[in-house]
Symmetry: D2
Subunit: 339 residues, 4 copies
Amino acid sequence: MSTPLNLGLIGAGRIGRLHAEHIAFRIPNARALIVADVNEMAARACADDFRVKFAVPDYQVIIKSPAIDAVVICSATHTHAQIIQEAAAAGKHIFCEKPIDFNLPVIDKALEAVERAGVKLQIGFNRRFDANYARVRQAIASGEIGQPHLMHIISRDPAPPPMEYVRNSGGIFLDMTIHDFDMARFLMGCEVEEIYTAAGVLVDPDIGEAGDFDTALITLKFTNGAFGVIDNSRQAVYGYDQRVEVLGSKGSVSTGNNYPNSAVVSTAESVRRDLPLNFFMQRYVESYVSELQQFVDAVLQDKPVSVTGVDGKIPVIMGIAARMSLEENRPVKLSEVRW
Amino acid sequence: MSTPLNLGLIGAGRIGRLHAEHIAFRIPNARALIVADVNEMAARACADDFRVKFAVPDYQVIIKSPAIDAVVICSATHTHAQIIQEAAAAGKHIFCEKPIDFNLPVIDKALEAVERAGVKLQIGFNRRFDANYARVRQAIASGEIGQPHLMHIISRDPAPPPMEYVRNSGGIFLDMTIHDFDMARFLMGCEVEEIYTAAGVLVDPDIGEAGDFDTALITLKFTNGAFGVIDNSRQAVYGYDQRVEVLGSKGSVSTGNNYPNSAVVSTAESVRRDLPLNFFMQRYVESYVSELQQFVDAVLQDKPVSVTGVDGKIPVIMGIAARMSLEENRPVKLSEVRW
Amino acid sequence: MSTPLNLGLIGAGRIGRLHAEHIAFRIPNARALIVADVNEMAARACADDFRVKFAVPDYQVIIKSPAIDAVVICSATHTHAQIIQEAAAAGKHIFCEKPIDFNLPVIDKALEAVERAGVKLQIGFNRRFDANYARVRQAIASGEIGQPHLMHIISRDPAPPPMEYVRNSGGIFLDMTIHDFDMARFLMGCEVEEIYTAAGVLVDPDIGEAGDFDTALITLKFTNGAFGVIDNSRQAVYGYDQRVEVLGSKGSVSTGNNYPNSAVVSTAESVRRDLPLNFFMQRYVESYVSELQQFVDAVLQDKPVSVTGVDGKIPVIMGIAARMSLEENRPVKLSEVRW
Amino acid sequence: MSTPLNLGLIGAGRIGRLHAEHIAFRIPNARALIVADVNEMAARACADDFRVKFAVPDYQVIIKSPAIDAVVICSATHTHAQIIQEAAAAGKHIFCEKPIDFNLPVIDKALEAVERAGVKLQIGFNRRFDANYARVRQAIASGEIGQPHLMHIISRDPAPPPMEYVRNSGGIFLDMTIHDFDMARFLMGCEVEEIYTAAGVLVDPDIGEAGDFDTALITLKFTNGAFGVIDNSRQAVYGYDQRVEVLGSKGSVSTGNNYPNSAVVSTAESVRRDLPLNFFMQRYVESYVSELQQFVDAVLQDKPVSVTGVDGKIPVIMGIAARMSLEENRPVKLSEVRW
């Protein structure tokens, strides 16, 4: 094997540790040299657990290190854009967790910095790499189901996040639906023109008091004439519910949930199986490995990344339009979102 | 067994023959005495095939016959309201195919006649009697899935109807979606307040030239705070696609399609099964028997019918609102529909 | 429609009433003229419920009636062979419930009488007409799965029959497995050469005390070189479990159980569905209609029946061989069964 | 984390490389220090790919190295027993691929050496660690399905192995069925008393010329009174078919195959999904990780291993009995297998 890609990991929280584990054990042609976290203890623990050589409190160490080829940004959302700019200026390739930012001018500034520097930027929309969604994309892209007409995206969390998380999440449309907005564009292979949102607070009144929503149906009109609907809930008590269905002119494709096993138990009461996987880290673990592997390969072989900065920006526009639609109770065109 | 209910069948077309067959062979406590159709040959054939004593061209023979206890109206839609009024005036109980009419004042006049006469009127929303939908209703009504939050109704025809049918159908919302509007109310157990329609012509341009649509996503806001979406297409090439899914606070319930057999064939190419049942008469045959059996029992035992005249009227209001929403591209409240 | 076939129904018990109902309501080109049962009250009730003109205690009335074209024999097993002979001698076509008899010389005598008389005889192996099994047969006969190699037949009752039934049933192999023996031959399209039986009493010790077994695995060697296993249990607490799976050189085909609905309920406990249909009359109702319809058509159109007298005899030979194998704990060739 | 377990890997073929990869990337508390293979190139490649420090041609280097805590034996079957004895004598814990040997006295000698030395020995019956089978075991062990009555084990390869492999495999019963024999004992939680084998050559005549079989149905009688059947084929053209079903007094449990994705595609031809995983390394990859993790943990924490030497020996006895049954065409008791 040739020299592995040297990565600097910025942020050693839940998602940072996930990437660190994958870099250590699942991605042969990369290694994490430095991990940075303002919480130095967290950086240290991450380094110890996942074979990272150095742990530091200040991510600038990574930016400035000539040994580092690329950064993996897993810090708090409000820091993403600034770190992207600094990393780009230092000539580092960048993998950044979604969302880039909630503010469109801020996103634009980051993307401009990336373009100026000529470095690669991949956004962490991991679900594109999931085997189920990839198969749906293939069914559409290959013409297996003909021209797409109607799309359903079901995306439900097993339980609401802590209220503190809710308050800083940017709202359900920018926190949760953003994945589904990306999925809609990715699967359909074209853009969304107009969004209509119906949403309410049916799960937890505290979410409403925080100004957010926990239940939504979001209608999408695509530029290719097709229609889609995103179904979001903060609470599917049976587990993490992540499915998609697309009807086309020559057929349909649909996916189911992932389960811990395939066993079916039949008793005098019911024919039943165990609950679907309950947590995004279990459900999507392989997609997290694949996205980072793809990024590493793109850098090493100088190939285009598959989730670009623009792919990171458009779902934010969609989230803003979705919220606008809800507040004004009318369909909103993406072109109405100004900055 | 006590005396069977004596029925007069008005209309010997496709749906009339279906009811005639069920009355002859599946419903022990009823018999069809007279069948009327303006096409006397059709009436005669129906009588011969399904053991009906008399075949006549004029439905007034049925209305005036003292031997007839109840009428089953399967004639063209524009004749329904008039026949309802005459049958009610003659003291006959009435089973009427959907829709009562496309015109709300005309519906009101018919319903008033029924009320005045004190006869029973049941509308032919047969799907309520289908085992799958009945099980979904039970899951909601019994609290098995808690408070309902989100509903998906998938309702797709295998292929578009003939253009002549399309032109006289009243449009997709009053012809096809009307079943789904009824289903939404029935399953949710409450009313719809507001409708938003996204629709287009993706299947057949001729449908668009006739001023109709073939593909639609219709968002519903229910009075209980829940949200629903109806997915309609005139063309699901794999067969008649009729499913529903409801997410509630304590779980979800979903149904699949009905298949001619349960066989799964695995070869070097794929793991596959035969296509779902392709036609509404196969898919819903048992529900047609059940609805008529329920009507016959309601008359014989003087019990309330389960699909009332109001149940026949509200989906028409919903169809009008859906069309208005599409034309004005905005959510429309049912209360905006005036007559 | 031409003149319907006039049937005489012999035996007005559970299965006789089932056929009577189908003749009355589901089979347009036949009618039951006379029903006979030693229990005259039962004959009378059957006649009243299912539009049969005459009810008599003595089946000879049917045999002697010139109006009768064919008999449907649903009486006790030990009377089958005698009635077959008498009906054949009288020139009546014969539909006879399985088994013809438990005694091979007695069966031979009955089949000889049928042959002499040149009448049609169809044996009531209804499952061949079930949509699931018919699809499996098609997959084999059409070459869809290539040459068959391995077959599993799962055939489990929901609960053991009453002990009185067990004592007069001829034993599990002649009462229950006999259907599966027929199915094995029908699906495979060739004969069984050798049988090995492993069986025990695991469900109810009373069955063992009556000299019978309630749980069995029966290995079959077919003349085409393939192997099969029949899985029998008198108790599958979740319902009537009736499935088959065949592996061939080009693929496999398998069937599932039939359910009252397709609804799946997901809660915090499990993903579950309602139990399979629990009783053979529900599970196989359509196959009962089809077999009798096929018999009626075969007589009216003078076509061969699809389940012949020999098809009725061979499963009895197999049942005897299965029992012999169990008693001697060794594989037994069908050619060892002598009479 | 405390000091990892130092492993010596003996054999760098397909399965050796699999374990090497898992040790390198999936098992945090172990590392492979030395890999030995008579083919030194293979040892070197394995070391390079999976971070193993030393690559040697002679496994004795491992046995003699004081740095090595335990050996992982993946060499050719005929070398297993000798290496076990040497490793045990050197005080190394042992993970050994199945089978220990085909010769029972040789197995006994190896197991005696292990016992004398007081080291741990775990046999590589990885399927016990598969999530599906583990769930079935749980359903039985917990009483969820009551007392087990009937068991089906379906175990089919996608395609026959190369003829050279067949000739040295020890025959289908000791090569392929041995996994299913282990599974039968593991799931049922008791021993098999008697075996009856029906088998033939239906897939490839060359296999028959080599004196082996490619298609088999093997009936098992368990000491608890239950019955089981193992279904083996060297060719399931649709993929690796690995399922189990157990009927008990309170219900049943069954598992399905594992698929690369959950997508269902419906077109005008069929409702289909992609083929099941085609190769044991994909299908069982997680179970290989788990078994080795369990071994490492058992050594580090001085706990009993879950697949013992006796668990390695009994399936060989069963394989010999299965072959004897086939040759003599009679049920054979395990107690008849003498050595």
